[in-house]
């Protein structure tokens, strides 16, 4: 995974709350077996409307998405993260995220910055005053900057460190290989195994 230190791009205002992952990418696009190529699928239904923000310039090439609360609720589909990244969204700023979406984003190098509601409103106002204005997400300083505005954001230390170092989660867990093996020897005998297969 690439190391992420500072991200910068036009702020994209998505003035909706409760943006569920079915909206981010509808189920019809989940039939693919690849991890890339989802840029056209992003917000597919909403993008049928020409006035939708991602159809407007200067937002159609991606940037930093600034969304209402409860972004990424619902289905666990990681395709939502892949689609945002494929479209060119490098970070999402919101007051609240769906837990699974946020976890998926952290694994895939999409920054999810939690800020107070007032910061979202201020960013929307800044973008409205100057469409295309750049938002900087500084992982080291844990800061969002936009024009004169500076706000700190919340992202847990571990995820931030992992993203900044570009580390693979599986490798990190496998440093505990001995502990995993030891744990497996102590599991109760009653715990089921799927193999050999039994049916009624």
């Amino acid at each position: 995974m690439d190391k992420i230190t500072i991200l910068q791009g036009p702020g994209i205002p998505l003035k909706r709350s409760n943006v569920d992952t079915d909206q981010i990418i509808p189920a019809e696009f989940l039939k693919r077996v690849t991890k890339t190529g989802y840029d056209d699928a992003l917000f597919y239904a909403w993008r049928q409307d020409e006035s939708f923000v991602l159809n407007q310039e200067p937002y159609s090439a991606g940037g930093v998405l600034v969304a209402g609360p409860d972004f990424g609720t619902g289905s666990s589909r990681e395709h939502a993260v892949w689609a945002l990244k494929d479209f060119g969204i490098t970070a999402v700023i919101s007051a609240r995220f769906g837990d699974i979406f946020r976890s998926n984003a952290g694994k895939q190098g999409l920054v999810t910055a939690v800020v107070p509601e007032e910061v979202v409103l201020a960013l929307w106002a800044a973008i409205e005053a100057e469409p295309g204005v750049a938002i900087t997400v500084d992982m080291g300083a844990r800061e969002i900057r936009c024009g004169e505005m500076v706000a700190s954001f919340e992202l847990d230390d571990y995820t931030r460190w992992r993203l900044m170092e570009g580390l693979d989660d599986i490798d990190l867990s496998l440093t505990h290989a001995d502990a995993i093996e030891k744990f497996e020897h102590l599991r109760g005998n009653w715990r089921p195994t799927t193999l050999p297969a039994r049916t009624a």
Binding site: K15, R16, S17, N18, D20, D22, Q23, P26, A27, E28, L30, K31, R32, V33, T34, A45, G68, P69, D70, T73, G74, S75, S76, R77, E78, V81, F97, G98, D99, I100, S103, N104, K107, Q108, D156, D157, Y158, D169, I170, L172, S173, L174, H176, A179, I180, F183, E184, R187, G188, N189, W190, R191, P192, T193, T194, L195, A197, R198, T199, A200
Partner: protein
């Protein structure tokens, strides 16, 4: 030891390594359920890294999201669905994972299959690349929906790095009135705490109304925990749980059963344990609940009316309501019971188990469906389908004018051909009323099996009492 909640006990008992300095804990996973949609990229990841599945014997796969519910003996017509299912079959063969394919007696919705095989039990950690994995919490298990990166992680390591969750108790005391069920309790809870209310929490459902539910009802409750934004929902195991598990194919036997029971009897929240948040709900007051909007928190009593966004103080709530009413083509003040539907969908991991089908059948029996309404009944698994047929439920559905389908996720998310047409309105026993969830432009009202049945008879959102009142009047 200080008193602990059930969630804390489950966590402690699966701790492989405690994280220091803000690192997550490493948690062992007892059961990994796999399906065709969220796994192909995970298996690819293993191949690229040259990794194997660490514990194929703790992993099981089934085909559910894409599978057709008619003509299942023919090749899957839609090429992308077919490729995805073929990919799962190839991956399971290559990595030695047990798979129940379309046509197999144990095929079905992944969250129906696990419990039915006796693979879901109290005291376990269960994961699946599907947010409705929370279903399995009904057994007193820690059950988490995960993304594809985490699917790969569990395949490779049988563990997950996780930060401890907060705990919320949701106590439901009292006795449900006739016509009110587990689905109504959970819809009322989501309306109360909101779709983000559970974020970061494990919800523990407690109280006399929960204890009175059978396992199928408890699974309905835990299933929709994710709709409140929660990481998981759990219910402490009791005799109802043990009776359900006992004798199932993978249930422990003999000394192993005794060992299990000894452990399971410790799986409850200790007296004096402290939750991070507490919510109370009176079951006696509860009425059948339905949704009017486009997220599961936008619900109201079936006897109520479509709310007026102008009455909402929260700006986001108001904006979301305005948008939802436009999408749903509804006006404030409309009586919910005056809303006509085109389709009734009885199925999904929320409500497709035998108890659900029995309830639905008991209400429609002897009636004919409302004219012009499509009624689709989709059992949760091939085995549930057979069990229902043994009781004549298929005949009741067909005599009613409904369609008796093969098992799968079906119209819950319309990844197979079972979809709503644009503008079509459904009463659905599923879990999500998101825009376009059941088909592009489709409109969904989430309901219980009882309300689904009554609605199928009358053609407008209805409760069973509306049906019996008519019978008396006739």
């Amino acid at each position: 030891m200080a008193p602990r909640t059930l969630a804390q006990k489950l966590w402690d008992d699966h701790l492989v390594a405690r994280g220091d300095n803000g690192e997550p804990d490493l948690v062992y996973i007892d059961l990994h359920l796999v399906h065709e949609v969220t796994s192909p990229q995970a298996f690819d990841g293993l191949r690229v890294a040259g990794r194997r599945v660490r514990r194929p014997d703790l992993t099981i796969a089934t085909e559910d999201h894409n599978t057709p519910t008619i003509n299942i003996d023919k090749p899957i017509a839609e090429p992308t669905s077919r490729i995805q299912i073929e990919t799962l079959r190839k991956n399971c063969e290559e990595f030695g994972v047990r798979l129940h394919s379309l046509g197999d007696i144990e095929q079905g919705i992944v969250h129906v299959v696990g419990p039915q095989l006796g693979l879901t039990m109290p005291g376990m950690t269960v994961v699946c690349g599907d947010s409705h994995t929370s279903t399995h919490g009904a057994f007193g298990a820690m059950a988490l929906g995960i993304g594809t990166s985490e699917v790969e992680h569990v395949l490779a390591t049988q563990t997950l790095p996780l930060k401890p969750f907060k705990t919320m108790s949701i106590t439901v005391e009292g006795e449900l009135r006739p016509g009110v069920s587990a689905k109504d309790i959970i819809l009322a809870i989501i309306a109360k705490i909101g779709t983000g209310g559970g974020q970061g929490y494990v919800l523990e459902y407690r109280g006399s109304a929960i204890r009175a539910l059978g396992m199928d009802g408890r699974m309905t409750m835990c299933n929709m925990s994710i709709e409140a934004g929660a990481r998981a929902g759990i219910i402490a195991p009791d005799q109802i749980t043990y009776d359900y598990v006992h004798g199932r194919p993978h249930a422990p036997e003999g000394a192993a059963w005794d060992e299990a029971m000894e452990y399971w009897s410790t799986l409850h929240t200790d007296e004096g344990a402290v939750f991070d948040a507490e919510v109370f709900l009176d079951a006696n007051d509860l009425e059948a609940f339905v949704t009017w909007g486009t997220n599961p928190g936008q619900g109201v009593s079936l006897n109520g009316v479509v709310p007026n966004p102008a009455d909402m103080s929260d700006e986001h709530e108001k904006a979301a309501a305005l948008r939802a009413l436009e999408y749903m083509d509804l006006s404030p003040g409309t009586r919910m019971k005056d809303i006509p539907v085109d389709t009734v969908f009885m199925g999904s991991c929320t409500n497709s188990r035998l108890d659900d089908l029995r309830t639905f059948a008991s209400i429609i029996k002897g009636h004919a469906k409302a004219e012009g309404v499509r009624v689709m009944v989709v059992p949760g698994s091939a085995r549930v389908r057979l069990e229902a047929e043994a009781e004549g439920i298929d005949k009741i559905v067909e005599d009613f004018g409904g369609e008796w389908r093969f098992a799968g996720c079906s119209m819950c998310l319309g990844m197979n051909p079972d979809q709503l047409a644009p503008g079509e309105r459904a009463a659905s026993t599923s879990n999500r009323n998101f825009e376009g969830r059941q088909g592009k432009g489709g409109r969904t009202h989430l309901v219980s099996p009882m309300v689904a049945a009554a609605t199928a008879i009358r053609g407008t959102l209805s409760s069973p009492s509306d049906v019996s009142a008519e019978k008396v009047g006739a």
